[in-house]
């Protein structure tokens, strides 16, 4: 099985480290680079500064755990989405904007690849892990609204990232497609 992780930021990088022993090959996709501000909220270390995020995560998996992954340092778009999803059995959306989520959803539907989304609220109190058939991308309050790098919501990012990793693990093991709602009250399975 091959899994393509789209967006290696806060949720994506957190989930990737928890998938280091998953029984699948990981393909990591992100065009962005690691900046110092990312170290507070994302699974990157100082030695990864200025590297492409997909490549940095690949190197950290290899150097820390001896785990292999494929890194593609490109921006997913309608023009290359089919190529990025090629050969994959599962796509995972950890993007930080509605447009990219929708582009990925359309490409996954066309390619017949199951798609799992993960997202978190602006105030860091709530998160969702939901399969594409029940997911609608929420719009930012303002286009291009920046994301938090301050790290004060890191525990919630960890909770949502861990829930995402577990949902992926369940899919790999049995094909199960569970949705989860994550709040400070706990993690609730919703389907």
């Amino acid at each position: 099985m091959r899994i393509v992780m789209c967006g290696i930021g806060a949720l994506g990088s957190t989930a990737v480290q928890l998938l280091r022993n998953v029984a699948a090959e990981l393909r990591l996709v992100d065009f962005d680079r690691v900046e110092s501000k990312n170290l507070a909220a994302q699974w990157f270390v100082k030695q990864s500064l200025h590297k492409n995020k997909a490549e940095a995560a690949r190197l950290q998996l290899a150097n820390f755990y001896g785990a292999k992954a494929e890194a593609l340092g490109v921006r997913l778009a309608a023009t290359n989405a089919a190529q990025l999803l090629a050969g994959c059995d599962l796509a995972v959306d950890c993007f930080d904007n509605a447009d990219s989520r929708i582009t990925l959803s359309q490409a996954a539907t066309t390619a017949g690849v199951p798609l799992l989304h993960a997202a978190i609220s602006a105030d860091g109190t709530f998160g969702l892990v939901r399969w594409d058939e029940r997911f609608t991308a929420d719009r930012e309050d303002a286009p291009g609204q920046p994301t938090c790098e301050g790290g004060e919501h890191l525990p919630m990012i960890g909770l949502v990232g861990a829930t995402l990793a577990r949902a992926i693990q369940d899919f790999v093991a049995s094909g199960a497609r569970h949705d989860y709602l994550v709040s400070m009250s706990g993690v609730m399975r919703t389907s």
């Binding site: 949720l11 950890c94 904007n97 602006a122 029940r134 719009r139 994301t147 400070m184 919703t190 389907s191």
Partner: protein, 89 residues
């Protein structure tokens, strides 16, 4: 009957209610304001809940694992990480 799940300020709780099939999102939000203020939602009692608390929230209508109607009133989740504007500088 339907289960209305309300998430507010990090807390999430269920409230069982009878709903007509055409109940609008605005009605769901109005009901949620009333029951949260009144203490009708176990674990989520906010007597001074602002009337606009759920204005930007999303209403999802799904089927639960047992086939029951479940309605989720929740914050928007556009991000892979939270928004800077809410963060301490």
């Amino acid at each position: 009957m339907a289960i209305l799940n309300i998430t507010y300020m990090g807390q999430s709780a269920d409230y069982e209610l009878a709903l007509d099939a055409h109940t609008s999102d605005a009605d769901i939000k109005r009901i949620a304001i009333e029951v949260v203020r009144a203490g009708g939602v176990r674990g989520l009692h906010v007597p001074d809940l602002p009337g606009n608390a759920f204005v930007s929230f999303v209403v999802d209508r799904l089927r639960g694992t047992g086939g029951e109607q479940r309605i989720y009133l929740r914050p928007k989740v556009p991000f892979g990480a939270p928004a800077r504007r809410r963060c301490a500088s």
